[in-house]
Amino acid sequence: MPGKLKAKIVAGRHLPVMDRASDLTDAFVEVKFGNTTFKTDVFPKSLNPQWNSEWFKFEVDDEDLQDEPLQVTVLDHDTYSANDAIGKVYIDIDPLLCTEAASVISGWFPIYDTIHGIRGEINVLVKVELFNDLNRFRQSSCGVKFFCTTSIPRCYRAAMVHGFVEELVVNEDPEYQWIDRIRTPRASNEARQRLISLMSGELQRKIGLKVLEMGGNAVVGYLQCFDLEGESGLVVRAIGTACTLDKLSSGSAPNTNTHTHPNTAPASNACNSPSKDGKESPLAHGCRSTHNSPVHSACNSQRLSQNFSVSVPTLIFTGMGSGGSVGKEAGPLKTLLRQQTQTALEQREFPFFTLTSFPPGFLVHVGGVVSARSVKLLDRIHNPDEPETRDAWWEEIRQEIKSHAKALGCHAVVGYSESTSICEEVCILSASGTASILNPRFMREGCLDIGIADHRFEEPSPPSCGFCHIPYDELNMPFPAQLTYCYHCRRQKVPDVLFTTIDLPSEASVTGKGCLIQARLCRLKKKAQGEVNATAISNMLPFMEYELHTQLMNKLKLRSMNALFGLHIQISVGENMLLGLASATGVYLTALPAPGGIQIAGKTPGDLSNDHISTIQKRINDTIAKNKELYQINPPELNEELVGSPIPEPRHRSRLFRSHSESSDEVSELDLSHGKKDAFVLEIDDTDAVEDIHSLLIDAPPPSGFYSCNTEVMPGINTWTSGVQMFTSVRVFRLSNANLTNQGLNKIFTDLCENLLKSFYFKLRSMIPCCLCHLNFTVAVPEDELIQVAVTAVAMTFDKDQTQEKPAEKPITKGSGDTEEQLQFSMELCADSSLANSQPPSKISGVPESSNISSRAASVDYGSFADRCSTWLELLRLKAHTIRRGSVKTISSLERSSPLPDGRSRSLRSTRSFGGTSVTVVKMTPLSFLPGTRIIKYLGIINMFFIRETTSLREEGGVSGFLHSFIAEVFAMVRAHVAALGGNAVVSYSMKECVFMENPNKNQAQCLINVSGDAVICVRESDPEATPSMTNSAQSCSSETDTAT
């Protein structure tokens, strides 16, 4: 009996009225874990019951502790008929199993019902006592920490990175089990929620076991997805990176970002050292795609399945392996390094890493994006305990990825992720990552301390450009590419363009700012069944992949950039169409050559007049010039000339001069200089091509004051202020025209995405200057004629004037866009005061309750931030005092007094009237950090799955009203769980799944949402050593009021 789970039901509030006669509710609570159930007494006739129950104790195996959620059901007692369920709360107790995470779960949880949504709240206390010795694990893996964050968590140090862990579990979907009988929505929704919760727990436990086997203690970059395969069942699968993490003592600042690579110092030397090798490979630009035989049957499956994969040609490399091209002194060491890495990695079946950013020195070279897709026909999962078929499918894909990486001269894949798209019985499995070479230090046993650099194996390349250097042999390149010497160190070869799925390494040197680049594609497909359908889809995939890639490349060039980070290509399948969406963040890497322009050429000169071509050419050139200005891309080429790094080939020299001349204004010159040699040529051979070019130019740049990217942070911006607004937006577009062309579809799809972005800019305009980070688009084809786009992102404010001080103090209270900052930290004074100034006084100005107070308020020192909090508290205390004395009804003629004291006392009273409880402010972000704050504790993973259904769609405001409230409810439940764990923020938040189905004729709709993230406690960066308890009190101003009273 290795664990004791204890739960206590304290109280409820805002319960719904269950008894129409009395307008009240006789509520009681059932607490269930595994097969044991306890009940509280009935608290009669109240909407705010106080149960204050005893401690319910469950004695359970730790295996169950990991798998099972604690189920709290609130019911209305009914003497004569069956008790009515009000709603449920599932509490994942995993965070309590880890000594370093949360120790108690305590707080108000929304009571959730799949039909009615949130119906009041319940206050629950949960504790766990583990009394086994932690070495005796067999089936359980308590103690393994899980992180959604795809980098080494901020307050840990990676002693060792073990590598890839994966697992999947399958089960029958209760929805489909029951659908033939009379389905009661609530029962099947709840069964599904519970099942997925159980499966997630089991999956996490199994992954934990694998981690323990590998000798690790944590999973970083944990990515869990579920596939609703319909009749064939339900698959929950997860991948992650096993690590051994050491907690940094709070004394040492855990700011991994600022840690400099131990070998940064020699960087300047490296730059000056002359490069002797000057061989140039004058290869044309192009793409290589490996194309497996499009049809072959999968291992054990009786049915035919389609397999197709493509490795996206991306053009990146270093002198690695190309012995001759590397400086002599580095050669042997490199070989050694390579061998080391290889052995370290080859012990693993899949040298994959789900991380997207790395400790300094970890990533040596990047080879390019590798991806694989496979089309499968789903078959009923006959035996849930043996999910071999699904395992085998993924195994195949991973092998493919591995071999692609090898072809790029790389032995590891980083930024690795997997996804699926399902339509009826067809399923596209996709995997992608970035082929790369890693420093073996982090993977070797016995060399746990990264602090002590192992100099023998140090890479001589400077960290700011080393990762760009090609990892493969330039004489034996995997695909045609144009290599030049690194523009940063001049020593090793770099490709002309670099595509990756990872975040921009923090040490990389970048010119100008980055921007979001999207390629969008829609392709019609005939409706078909079974194998015919699968074959059709797999035949279309390579073309889609190719077109998306071409679009990306064009758009990249149009912005005068040379590298893509965070590339994510999603291909969704529907009954009659395929959707492709590629998102990435474009940047200009200083180490890579300047991109050539785009040259338009008519293939058949007779077709189109030269005038037409030159107009288009001019527009393109203008756009490039505009973009250069917009993203501040002014490569410091002159400087390099001055440094005089020797570039022996005249061709290089001339090239440099040419690009230099680009920055001059002569447009006609520019055309010529782009020449055929290094400009990207677009051929216009038919009207389609013209359309394509037009669509290229459609993408509007973000309005001034806005930037956008899909990576963790915007390259070129590092002065974040504390304004953070995370949001989720969903749009569904109905295609009414049955006879759409590919072209028409493309336009609709592109407009849909562009309009979404425009909406974001508009809604968040009060946050300017601001950057939309981690823009994560998910597309789906939920039905015929429907396109669904879901976006989750975060808007963060930054200081435009980088030299200016006190960025955080500037309240952004213009219009509607109150940032969470005001919520989180006690900055209300300053915010309110500014607002008071901007408001017409007649509206909100109140009369102070006593002149004593108002003079007090007037004396507040607005200038000093440090004093603000305490002054404010003092003010509150005074205020509270006044109220207690009851001297409130007094004179009323100080017309121009500030509304401030009023507002305060108001919120004060509001909290008091409900017994001092208040809502903790919880920030959410898809990033791994919150600007201006420091994460001091990770409390555990949040992984929640909800279903919501309605049979009164119109009454709930139609589909938009329904989904709007559901998403708001999901946010609320995530925040409540985080707050109950003692946290004040969620980092690495993501919405994995948003499946929306409607039947307006029946007035019904259903939606499934899966979200995940890491619950954390963070403190202001300026606070020296705040304890968690201090943090909590600093978090919500209402809790401050409590202490003040």
């Binding site: 929304p110 949130i118 607004q725 995370m726 949001f727 989720t728 937006s729 969903v730 749009r731 569904v732 577009f733 109905r734 009414s736 025209n737 425009k758 909406s759 974001f760 800019y761 508009f762 809604k763 968040l764 305009r765 669904q788 219009g815 509607s816 109150d818 969470e820 005001q822 919520l823 209300e828 309110d832 509206k843 909100i844 109140g846 009369v847 309750e849 009804k889 009323s892 509304p899 507002g903 919120s907 509001s910 909290t911 009237s913 409900f914 409880t917 208040s918 809502v919 405001g957 589909v959 938009s960 009203g961 989904l963 709007h964 708001a968 946010f971 609320a972 929306f996 101003c1037 209402s1038």
Partner: protein, 357 residues
Amino acid sequence: MAVELDVFVGNTTIMDEEVYKLWLDGYTVNDAVKVRMEGGVMEECEASADVLLSDTMDQYRTFQMCERLLHSPAKLANQLLFQITPHRQAVLIERYYAFDDAFVREVLGKKLSKGTKKDLDDISAKTSVTLKSCRRQFDNFKRVFKVVEELKGPLVENIRQHFLLSDKLGRDYAAIVFFANNRFETGKRKLQYLTFQDFAFCAGQLINNWTVGAVDHMVEDMDVDLDKEFLQELKELKILITDKDLLDQHKSLVCTALRGKTKAFNEMEANFKNLSRGLVNIAAKLTNTKDVRDFFIDLVEKFIEPCRSDRWTAADMRLYLTHYTNSAHILDTFKHQVVWDRYMGVIKSCIFKMYHD
């Protein structure tokens, strides 16, 4: 081809104050979009009409979802569904409970019943406040009325605590509740010139001085009902006009004090008996509910109108009433000083407020 579903949900609920105002004012989504377009928001952020429409719909939906909470504002502070800054919560509540002076003037003193609610479309047509907005304002009045009806303690404070309103708005609501409860007549043509703020001020005076609460702090309805004992005692003041000697004495005292201080002296002297009779008669009749209702109309008819026709200035009015009140203290045979002060204090300030030059 149409956007079938379009939602945007922020972790911190995003609310545009301009759109909130349009929503409160009862604009339809399309009208609101038009207003916003004319307001020039589009240029601000290179937005298109579609963007504006989508944003407006989102905001309207958010407000509709919040409306339930705004009906009991205390819930807004500890609900979990929307993360709203305390400051913004306060703004939301304050604006939701704000009302149009034109509208409230029509409803003031009427019974907050279904009957009145049926007349809202007439009021809407008359005041050009949208029917939707009229309904919200009316429901707000009614809601506040119902809640404070059953509470003990000071009226303004109760309203502020339960609805988390500012002091100013709390007092306005107290006035509305007070007027509705006592059914003061405010709609007569003669009273049309008075603004809501004039009445609200008077209500404040009455609440603070003439209600039960002015004497005892912990009674039910203490601020809503007038002090019955006091109203009885007011009958005693009749002696000032029924006793001829007292009346003459009073007149001569006032006239002595006023002589040479105002241009309107002759009129004051000539009208003294009439005016004094008017004021004292009002006092004596207040025991009848019917006459309480006519309190303001009586004040206007019996005092303000005669003075106005004699072209008194506001300063004249002050001067006259001050001496009129104070001189009564010097009358040896007049024994009701306390009641007189309690009565005249309120009458004085009400008349000051109601006497527009």
